[in-house]
Symmetry: C2
C-alpha cells in the first residue's frame, strides 16, 4: 500500500560541480574528483609580476580563499559520503598557473585597466583544471590581468571542503568565458542612512565574487552630504550637511575605496544628484537651494526634505560645476553621474531668486533647466570620458546630451529603455520593478496607510523576479546593441550598517548573471527556462553560502533543508 517511496530523490538535473555564479558561457566537464594540495600555490607562467601588484595580491588571495573557505558542498549527507569515498583515490592538484596570451601588447595591472572606459575592457579568460588521471597542469589564460582575475574568481568557486580535504567535482574542467555585457553594476545610496567604509569595502568584495564590475556610489542626497571635499571651498558641505563628523568619507577613505575597488576589477561611478535631491547643500549653502524643507514636502519633492539647486541662477550654476570638478578630482575613474531624477519644477514657482532670473532672461523654467544640464555636462565631459544621467533628464526634460559621451540609466517604466535607445543613447538597466533591492519592506513614510503601509515599489523584488528580467525585450537589434548592461540598486531609507549585507546579498548577484552570462546557458538552453530554475537556485545558494564563509551576512533564500536537497522545494518537484 506504500504509494510513496520513503525517500524521494531530488530531480536536480544540473551537475553539482557547476556552482559557479555567474555561470560561465562555455564549460566542459568530466566525471572525476580531485583534491587540492595543502601547499597549493598559484604560479605565474609567462608573466613578470614585479610591476603588477594587483595581480600578485589577487593570486595570493585566491590561494588563501580556496584553502580557507571551508565550504561544505550543499548536498544530503548520503551524497557527501559518496564524495568522501571517492576522495580516497583522488589525485591531487598542486598548483594553478597564470598565463597572458602571447599577443598581449599592453601589460597593465588590474587597476590600470579599470581606469579606462568599460567598453575597452577585456575580461575574457580560459580556465583548465586537470582531472584525476592527470599530472596535467591546471591553468588560466587571458589577454589581460583583469581577465586573469575573473578566471581566479571562477577557480575559487570550484572547491568544497570535507573532513579537512579540499576537493572539486566533475573534473577535468575546461571553461571559456567572457561577459555578455560590459556594465554589471550595483548601486548603493549612502545619504539616507550612512554606510561605513568597512561595509563598502565588504560590499566590493561581494561584488567581485559575482564578477560585478561597477560600483555606482549614490554618495549624497537631500538627507545628508557625507562626502568630504577638502579643496575649493567646499569643506562646509559635509561639515554642516553630514549627519556627523563620524558619518563622512574623507579623501583618504575615498582613495582607499576606489583603489580597493580597482584592484578587484570594479570601477567606481560616483553620483552627485543634481539639481534635485540636493537639500543637504542648504545646511552650508542655503543661498543655492530653493524650497528648502518646504512644507508639505510632497508638493516639492518625492521624499522629505524638499530642496533643489537654484539652477537658473548663475552663481548656483557656477557653484555646481565647481563642485562637480572637485568631486571628479577624488574619483579617478572613467564615469561620473550627475543624477537628474525627480526634478520638481514646482519648487521654483515661488522662489524669488529663480523667478527674478527667469523674468530678466525671458527663459522658461524648462529652458533654464536644459541650459543648466547641457552646460554642466559639457564642462564635466571635458574632465571625464563618460557622464551618466537618470532617464528623467533625456526623457522627461528632453535635454539632448551627447550620445557618444552620455550614458542613460533607466529606472522607471517599461518604455524608458525603448525610448532612450530609440534616441541613440547607450543605456544601463536599473528597473525599479525588478532591480530595486529596498522595495517591499513597507512604507517608511509613517502615515502611508492608504495602501496598507506598502512601499511605493512593493512587492519585494525576489531573486526570481529580478532573474526574469529581459534586457532586450521588444528591442530592435540596433537598440539591443545600445544596452551596456545593468545593475541592482539599494536606496537606504530602511538600511544602514545593521542590515546592509542581508538586504544586498545574494540578490544583487542576479544582475551579475543576467549581464555576464546573457540569455543562453552553456548547454544552449535559455537562461530563464523553467527546467533551469532548480539548478540556478542551487548555484545561487552556493554563492550565498560561500559569501557567508567569507564574512558577508547574506540572507538565506530558503530553509537550509532546501539548500541541501536541491530541487525538493519547488512545486513541480
Amino acid at each position: 500500500m506504500h504509494l510513496f517511496p520513503l525517500i524521494v530523490v531530488g530531480i536536480f538535473s544540473v551537475s553539482p560541480a557547476v556552482a559557479q555564479w555567474p555561470i560561465p558561457r562555455n564549460i566542459t566537464r568530466g566525471n572525476e574528483i580531485v583534491k587540492l594540495d595543502p601547499n597549493f600555490a598559484v604560479l605565474l607562467g609567462n608573466i613578470d609580476a614585479s610591476t603588477l601588484p594587483d595581480l600578485n595580491i589577487a593570486k595570493e588571495d585566491t590561494r588563501t580563499r580556496v584553502l580557507r573557505d571551508n565550504l561544505q558542498r550543499l548536498a544530503r549527507s548520503a551524497d557527501l559520503a559518496v564524495d568522501n569515498q571517492q576522495l580516497q583515490n583522488a589525485s591531487t592538484i598542486y598548483n594553478l598557473t597564470l598565463y597572458l596570451n602571447p599577443g598581449t601588447s599592453n601589460l597593465s595591472d588590474i587597476s590600470s585597466v579599470v581606469q579606462q572606459p568599460l567598453d575597452t575592457w577585456d575580461e575574457s579568460y580560459s580556465l583548465t583544471i586537470s582531472g584525476e588521471s592527470g599530472q596535467a597542469p591546471s591553468f588560466i589564460v587571458a589577454n589581460t590581468t583583469l581577465g586573469l582575475l575573473r578566471g581566479l574568481t571562477t577557480f575559487e568557486q570550484l572547491w568544497y571542503t570535507s573532513n579537512d580535504l579540499i576537493y572539486a567535482l566533475d573534473t577535468p574542467i575546461n571553461i571559456e568565458d567572457s561577459p555578455a555585457y560590459p556594465y554589471r553594476g550595483f548601486m548603493l545610496d549612502t545619504s539616507r542612512n550612512f554606510i561605513p567604509v568597512q561595509d563598502i569595502n565588504r560590499t566590493l568584495a561581494g561584488m567581485s565574487m559575482a564578477k560585478l564590475n561597477v560600483f555606482h556610489w549614490h554618495i549624497v542626497d537631500s538627507q545628508s552630504f557625507p562626502l568630504q571635499l577638502p579643496d575649493g571651498g567646499f569643506a562646509d558641505l559635509s561639515e554642516k550637511g553630514a549627519y556627523s563628523i563620524y558619518e563622512t568619507y574623507n579623501a583618504s577613505e575615498v582613495q582607499e575605496i576606489t583603489s580597493y575597488a580597482a584592484s578587484l576589477g570594479i570601477q567606481v561611478m560616483v553620483e552627485i544628484d543634481i539639481p534635485g535631491h540636493s537639500a543637504a547643500i542648504a545646511q552650508s549653502h542655503p543661498e543655492h537651494i530653493a524650497c528648502n524643507e518646504a512644507s508639505p514636502w510632497q508638493s516639492y519633492a518625492n521624499e522629505p526634505p524638499a530642496g533643489q539647486l537654484r539652477f537658473a541662477v548663475n552663481d548656483t550654476a557656477n557653484f555646481t560645476t565647481a563642485l562637480l570638478g572637485q568631486v571628479a578630482k577624488l574619483f579617478p575613474h572613467a564615469m561620473i553621474s550627475t543624477g537628474g531624477d525627480e526634478i520638481n519644477l514646482d519648487c521654483y514657482a515661488n522662489d524669488t531668486q529663480t523667478q527674478e532670473v527667469l523674468a530678466s532672461s525671458g527663459q522658461s523654467i524648462d529652458e533654464a533647466l536644459k541650459h543648466f544640464l547641457l552646460h554642466t555636462h559639457e564642462v564635466l565631459q571635458m574632465i571625464t570620458p563618460r557622464t551618466v544621467v537618470w532617464q528623467d533628464v533625456v526623457l522627461n526634460h528632453s535635454v539632448g546630451l551627447s550620445t557618444n559621451k552620455t550614458l542613460v540609466m533607466v529606472w522607471d517604466g517599461v518604455h524608458g529603455a525603448l525610448d532612450a535607445t530609440s534616441q541613440g543613447y547607450q543605456i544601463i538597466h536599473a528597473p525599479s520593478d525588478y532591480f530595486y533591492l529596498d522595495c517591499g519592506a513597507g512604507s517608511w513614510v509613517a502615515d502611508g496607510s492608504s495602501n496598507d503601509w506598502r512601499s511605493w515599489c512593493d512587492p519585494f523584488k525576489t531573486w526570481q523576479k529580478a532573474y526574469s528580467f529581459n534586457p532586450t525585450a521588444n528591442m530592435t537589434p540596433n537598440q539591443a546593441k545600445l544596452v551596456l548592461g545593468g545593475e541592482q540598486l539599494l536606496w537606504t531609507e530602511q538600511t544602514d550598517t545593521n542590515n546592509l549585507d542581508s538586504v544586498i546579498w545574494p540578490r544583487a548577484a542576479v544582475a551579475a548573471e543576467i549581464f555576464w552570462t546573457g540569455d543562453t546557458f552553456p548547454d544552449g538552453s535559455n537562461r530563464t527556462a523553467p527546467e533551469n530554475l532548480d539548478g540556478t537556485l542551487a548555484r545561487l545558494h552556493a554563492l550565498r553560502y560561500r559569501m557567508v564563509q567569507r564574512g558577508l551576512k547574506a540572507t538565506p533564500l530558503q530553509p537550509h533543508w532546501c539548500a541541501i536537497n536541491p530541487g525538493n522545494c519547488s512545486i513541480v518537484a
Copy 2:
C-alpha cells in the same frame, strides 16, 4: 515672495522626554533637566538582596547600561544645543533606590516569579525621578522583584548622552505602570534555519528592553530537530535530525537560555509541534512518520518535506508522550506548546500502518486524531500547569481540551479569536496578517511565480500595520477577558544568524506596546489615534537606536534625517 519658511519646525507634539517603549500607563512630568553622576549607583532600600542574585545583577546591569548606552537624543542639532545649554545648570542624580512594598509577603527572586503561571505575575511598579530643584530621592517601588526589574527597564530609557554628560529631560517624573495583558511574547523558529545560542540570548536581551515576557521557542519542525534530548532513548533525534552537531542545543545550553530568560523576567514556552511538522523525526525514527518526504510535497504538507507522526499507532503515541516528557524535564517553565497546526490527513490515506490500526479499531482518522490529542494533553497537563495549542486543534479538529489548562494560539483568519473565545478558551493573539515578521520577503518556493513570487502572507508586516491590531475587536466583554495577550512571530525560512536581528527588531516590540500599554495612552487618547503616530514612531526610533547601542542589529525604520526630525516624514506634516 517666500511662501515657504526656510526652516519648517516639526509638528512633533509629544514631549521628547517620553522615549519609553512601551509607553507607561500613567506618567507625570515636569520641565527640568537633570544629569547623572558618573558614579551613579542603584541602591537597595528595604531589601536584603543576599538571596536575590537576579535582582542584584539586574540593578548592576542598569547602572552599567545608563552609564554606557551613549545614546544621543534623536533631535536636530539646534535642539541638542539647547540641551547642552540647560545642562550647565542642571542638578545631579546620584542614585536610584529600590523598595519593595512593605506588604510584600513572598520575597522571591525574579527567576522564581517567572516559573509560575503568567496570571500570577505582578509586574507593576512606580518610578519617581527627582527634578532639578531636588535633593529629593529617586526610587522605584514594586510588589515583586519582577516589578522592580520592569521599573529599572523604564529608568534606563530616560537617559541620553551629550558631550560625555548623561541627562534626562522633563523631570521630575512620576510613573505608575503595570501591563494591560499578562502575555507579551515573541516566537522564534529554530528549525527551518538554525539560530545559534548567542543569537537567542541577544534576542532575549532585546525582548527585555521592551518588557516582553514570553519567549515562544518553536524549537523543532520538519526541516531539522536541533534539540538534544540526552535521556530516555531520544538522543538520536538530534544526532540524525539536526543539520549538524554544531546546529543543536544541548541540555546545558537550554539551561543557559531558560535561566537567562528567567532572570530577565521572560518565561520560555517550548513548542514541540505534533503530529504535523514532524518529518525530522523520520531521520532517526522512520517507523513513527507517515508520508515522509512524499512527493509532491504540497499534497501532504504546507512545506517540504512532508512527514507526520503516525498518531493512530499506539507505539507512536507512546513515543510521543515519552518525548514530550523528556522535553518538559528540560524546560522548567509553566507552559509547553504541542503545536498542532496544519495537520494534513491526506498523509495517512495510503499509510499502511495507520490504515491497519483504523481498520482494526473501527475509528475514523478524525476520531483517532482527537483521541491522540486528548490523551497527549492529559498526560502533559499532569506535568505542566498549562499547555498551548495552535487554533487548528480546537477549531479545525474540534478537539475539546480543558479550557482551564489549555491556551489557544490564534494565527489564521479573522474569526479564529472570536471562535476560540466563544468556546471559552483563553487565547494568545498571533495573527499572520499583522504579526508574522517573515512575510513579504517573497516566495522561498523557487517556482512560486504564479503570484509574482510573493510570499503567501505578503505584504511585509510593517510596524504600522502590526500596531493597528486591535486585540478585542468585535468581542463581547466576556470574550475580551479571555485574551491573555499576543506575540509577533518569526518563521525562519528566510532568516538565520545573518539577518536575525534586523528581521526581528524593532518590529517585534510593537506587540510589547499593544499588550503592555493597552488601548489608551497616559494622556487618555487612543493608542492608534492618528495624532499619536509621529510620537509613537519617535519612541520606537528611540528604542531602536538604543538597541543598536547595545549591539542589536535592528533595522532603521526611516532615513536618519527623519529620526532626528520627528514629525517631518509624514504626509500630513
